[in-house]
Symmetry: C2
Subunit: 316 residues, 2 copies
């Protein structure tokens, strides 16, 4: 069944007691630099430090008591693992997160701190999926995939739902980073099905070095397998099946950013907005920095996806 | 004439069209770590990135047209210079900022970017004051001192005025960093003269390495001259005459923090609140980290004074 904006509205009602309605930030200086009006949806201030709290919360609070008693399981090297652990803890549901053994210690610690069990595996997608399948067979736990799951896509879309409502006037463009496609897919559904924003462009922003979504979008054939390396660690995932379908139908374009630009954009956000965002969150602004003339005079909303990174290992 | 809360309320009316009412931030995780309820007034999000915009704006918007036509002058190695330049530009008033020639390039650039003239001098307080006196003799411009000025103290106090109103319920303690004493002095007047917060403690937080305010507060004799070196560059100033008087009368204590703790507290604020604050802003939390048991169970407001620092030169 195809997701609609009603699903996203229901997701919002479901999760609103547990998540933050994060603020919209603006900077007169950034607007001056780029000659456009930028509104940043600061989901770096979200629970667990990333929009991933939205989808995980929606998934867990959609489950019935019987399923909950058997627990939830996922694989993740990043924010989704922490988000699912956080959401599961609120419903006293056992949560297991399969993580590649080379995941950063900070990410492992975050998952553990929310009370989940971590199971390590080799750092390949095959090993991650096989380990999850084993766990499900053993325990009957439910898989909550990081992005290829309608409950997750609907949850992530609530970031765009809040953004449109908070800005309260028509915008020319909404930009979001794209990795697995949960945030971009959910956001596109919201924008294209909301009254007054049907003509708002939805643009995905992706690292050049992890351009599987861009490739699939341009060719019409999803790239099923990729192992990209980019500083934007939240965007190393490969676009999901459901996500690909929504994105090819609803998104107006996917634009790419170089690694150097991503770092530059991240630093600019830190120094001008005085907030901490992770590299993935800076990819939309990096896209604008690359071709500012394409964005001149536009009203643009950018979803800042998260703020989790190792302060001892900054890219400058 | 002694400053009262009415002066600060008037200052607030005067500057409110130009400044941000910055948000109050909380972190469930920080509250858990320290066993108290912390509310952070995020003046790192203020215009020019620091509470200094409040006082400078109040001073400039208090001046008559005749004085304005002759311009304003100050000496500053930091945020006050940028704040005065920003405020002066709004009133089309010539602004000259005397800066030590060894001031960080970023601070010089900030002042220039707001349209002020920078005059360099040797990096001693004597040279700074002599240069300012010369400029005033030549141009008839008005001095707007960074802290030893009632208009400045009243302006800075508006941060506390907003804080009390935003929190909306009694707090046990308000903490602010102390350098020249504009922010702490103005805040103390507000707290002690506001209905319902008369018994709220006002605590100044100062680096051990720049402890002139603490010395003066404990001995009753103002330290007139000091040239401290601390990572909290915003707090290297010596407590002003007016500021000393207010602080000895109104402030309940001044507590000290080591350099290492200041860095630790700054990093904790960055990683938990996902915001950029400069070292000076972290001094109150550093004080709490040192003796957490003294703050257990308390409702505490902390004014985060600013967010300007060189991202290429972090202390970790």
């Amino acid at each position: 069944m195809k997701l609609t904006i009603e699903d996203i509205q229901q997701a919002h009602e479901r999760i609103v007691p547990y998540i933050h309605c994060t603020p919209i930030l603006q900077s007169a200086q950034l607007n001056k630099i780029f000659g456009c009006e930028l509104s940043f949806k600061a989901d770096n201030f979200q629970k667990v430090g990333a929009f991933k709290a939205r989808g995980a919360c929606n998934a867990v609070f959609s489950m019935d008591q019987d399923s909950l008693s058997k627990g939830v399981v996922t694989h993740s090297s990043g924010n989704h693992g922490a988000a699912l652990a956080w959401a599961a803890a609120m419903r006293q549901t056992p949560c297991t997160v399969v993580m590649p053994d080379n995941a950063p210690q900070a990410k492992k610690d975050a998952v553990i701190s929310y009370g989940a069990t971590v199971v390590y595996c080799e750092p390949t997608m095959a090993a991650r999926e096989a380990t999850v399948t084993n766990l499900i067979t053993q325990s009957g736990a439910s898989l909550v995939h990081a992005y290829d799951d309608n409950r997750i896509i609907a949850g992530q879309g609530t970031a765009a739902l809040e953004t449109l409502s908070q800005i309260g006037q028509p915008i020319d463009m909404l930009m979001a980073p794209v990795g697995g496609g949960g945030l971009l897919g959910g956001s596109a559904l919201v924008v294209k099905q909301s009254k007054g924003s049907e003509s708002t462009l939805v643009i995905g922003a992706e690292p050049e070095m992890a351009n599987d979504a861009w490739q699939g979008y341009k060719s019409g054939v999803r790239v099923a397998k990729s192992a990209p390396n980019t500083i934007a660690d939240g965007l190393r995932a490969t676009l999901g099946v459901r996500n690909f379908e929504i994105i090819t139908e609803q998104v107006d374009d996917i634009l790419l950013a170089s690694e150097a630009r991503i770092v530059e954009a991240m630093k600019l956000i830190w120094s001008r907005l005085k907030i901490i965002v992770e590299p993935s969150a800076a990819v939309p602004l990096a896209v604008i920095m690359d071709q500012p003339e394409d964005f001149h005079g536009k009203r643009i909303a950018i979803i800042l996806s998260g703020g989790n990174l190792d302060l001892d290992d900054l890219p400058w």
